[in-house]
């Protein structure tokens, strides 16, 4: 059964094959949870959403037709469930619940050693980024998380969201601009560490400078 594709396994699930479903679950649970965690920044909520996503997948087994990639179908369910939950809650993400530690104090290099200072700054930057992503509008956040966190293509994201590819592109640009604006106070720390491209050189997807 390990050789079956996702679509084949889903076909078996359509015939009430629980073991095929179990296989699909173990194959994709991590990605779905990762996506939902980055959308909510809350372990419990992400866990519940993941569980509900796969439950909905099981309930919809009779309606599945392999027209699109299975992962597109799965992430559609995850995204829809996330939006349903958010619609019900109608509240902003409680930043106090963020799983990522979010130290509020700034660190002074004069009182910390260099390595400790860099670690503290890196932690602060990540905390600030997670907060900023949580503040993005939901559709921008979905695009950013799927594109940045899951390396999905624009066409795949467009299929999940049910919108044109151009919309995905513009949402991604908007998301980056909003993040930049929200992280403006940390600009120095952000640019003072890691990758730099002062000469405007090209770069790969992981931000690594290419050899020129």
């Amino acid at each position: 059964m390990t050789d079956y594709s996702d679509e084949e396994l889903m076909g078996m699930v359509g015939n009430d094959d629980v073991s095929a479903f179990e296989k699909l679950f173990h194959r994709h649970k991590r990605r779905v949870f990762d996506f939902l965690y980055r959308m909510t920044w809350n372990t419990e909520e992400a866990k519940d959403c993941t569980q509900e996503t796969f439950l909905r997948l099981w309930q919809a087994r009779a309606r599945y037709s392999p027209k699109a990639k299975f992962t597109t179908y799965l992430f559609q369910i995850a995204k829809n469930h996330f939006l349903d939950v958010r619609r019900k809650q109608r509240s902003r993400v409680d930043l106090q619940r963020l799983s990522v530690d979010a130290p509020e104090q700034r660190f002074e290099s004069s009182v910390l050693s260099s390595s400790v200072y860099e670690a503290a700054v890196a932690k602060e930057i990540r905390s600030a980024i997670s907060r900023a992503v949580a503040r993005l509008p939901e559709m921008h956040r979905v695009v950013y998380v799927l594109s940045q966190g899951h390396r999905m293509s624009y066409s795949e994201i467009a299929a999940i969201l049910g919108c044109p590819v151009g919309t995905v592109s513009s949402r991604k640009v908007e998301a980056v601009k909003k993040l930049r604006k929200m992280l403006e106070p940390l600009k120095d720390e952000l640019l003072g560490k890691g990758f730099r491209s002062d000469k405007g050189g090209s770069f790969d997807k992981n931000g690594q400078e290419r050899d020129r």
Binding site: V18, F21, E22, R38, T43, L55, S169, V176, G194
Partner: protein, 274 residues
């Protein structure tokens, strides 16, 4: 040379491997002379790096166990079972649905029948009031049509006997001419041919003295009461008429002619009220 907005859009596209041919060259040319777009590129890359490096909590193992247990339980029910969720609605059983429909239809029919009955009763009440008004204008008590229809044959003899008595009375009373009454014997108007009227004068009333000693007096009194019973009339004014008639008869019997006349006048007034 492309604009900053266009350049930033292409920078994002290149970063996401969605660029077109020649994009990178255009971006490089723009970046050489645009520190703002260079900053955009650097910050975008750095934010992306840091975002990806944010640790994600591990998925609790209990999630899979709970989910698979639920799915297994559902799967055991077979393919014929409809997809159902924890929050999905269960359809009504067919019998219950039919019962609900039948109950609704019966309820609706009852409401319609009630409205119809109210309408008919209201119409009947209006008719009865109209008849009562007409009867009052005619000067007599409201006859009970059903009672008359049922009792007409059996009461004819009694009514005729009243007529005989009335004729006798009228004959005696007609010598007096100052007062006119349709009082106690007007109840015989249930049969129009039995209507009687009297002209009472002191002289005639005086002539009646001998009459009221006659045993027929008792009979007349009894007939008045029986007629009242016959018509089931409970109008207080009618009661007063009957009582006044009885009192008048007693006054005649006692030789109190003046009192009898006053009583007959009262009967006349009461009768007009009716």
């Amino acid at each position: 040379m492309i604009s900053c907005g266009e350049c930033q859009k292409r920078i994002v596209a290149v970063f996401d491997s969605e660029c077109s041919e020649g994009d990178e060259e255009l971006i490089s040319m723009h970046l050489k002379g645009c520190p703002e777009c260079r900053a955009f590129q650097e910050e975008m890359v750095r934010i992306g790096q840091e975002f990806v490096s944010i640790p994600v909590a591990s998925l609790p193992a209990a999630v899979g166990q709970e989910l698979l247990r639920e799915v297994s339980a559902d799967g055991l029910q077979g393919k014929s079972s409809h997809p159902k969720g924890r929050g999905s609605r269960q359809p009504w059983p067919l019998g219950l649905r039919r019962l609900a429909w039948a109950g609704g239809i019966v309820g609706l029919a009852l409401i319609v029948l009630s409205c119809l009955a109210c309408f008919i009763l209201a119409k009947e009440v209006v008719d009865l009031r109209r008849e009562l008004r007409v009867a009052r204008q005619a000067g007599g008590p409201m006859p009970s049509r059903n009672l008359l229809a049922n009792n007409h044959e059996s009461r004819v003899g009694e009514i005729l006997s009243v007529e005989e008595t009335s004729e006798k009375l009228r004959e005696l009373v007609s010598v007096a001419g100052h007062y006119r009454t349709q009082g106690p014997f007007r109840v015989a108007a249930v049969q129009p041919s039995l209507s009687v009227s009297y002209e009472v004068t002191p002289e005639r009333l005086a002539a009646l003295e001998g009459f009221w000693r006659d045993p027929a007096r008792q009979y007349v009194k009894a007939k008045i009461v029986s007629l009242k019973e016959l018509h089931k009339i409970a109008h207080p004014a009618f009661d007063r008429v009957i009582q006044s008639c009885i009192d008048a008869l007693e006054a005649f019997e006692a030789g109190r002619t003046r009192d009898a006349i006053e009583l007959i006048q009262e009967v006349e007034r009461s009768w007009n009220v009716i």
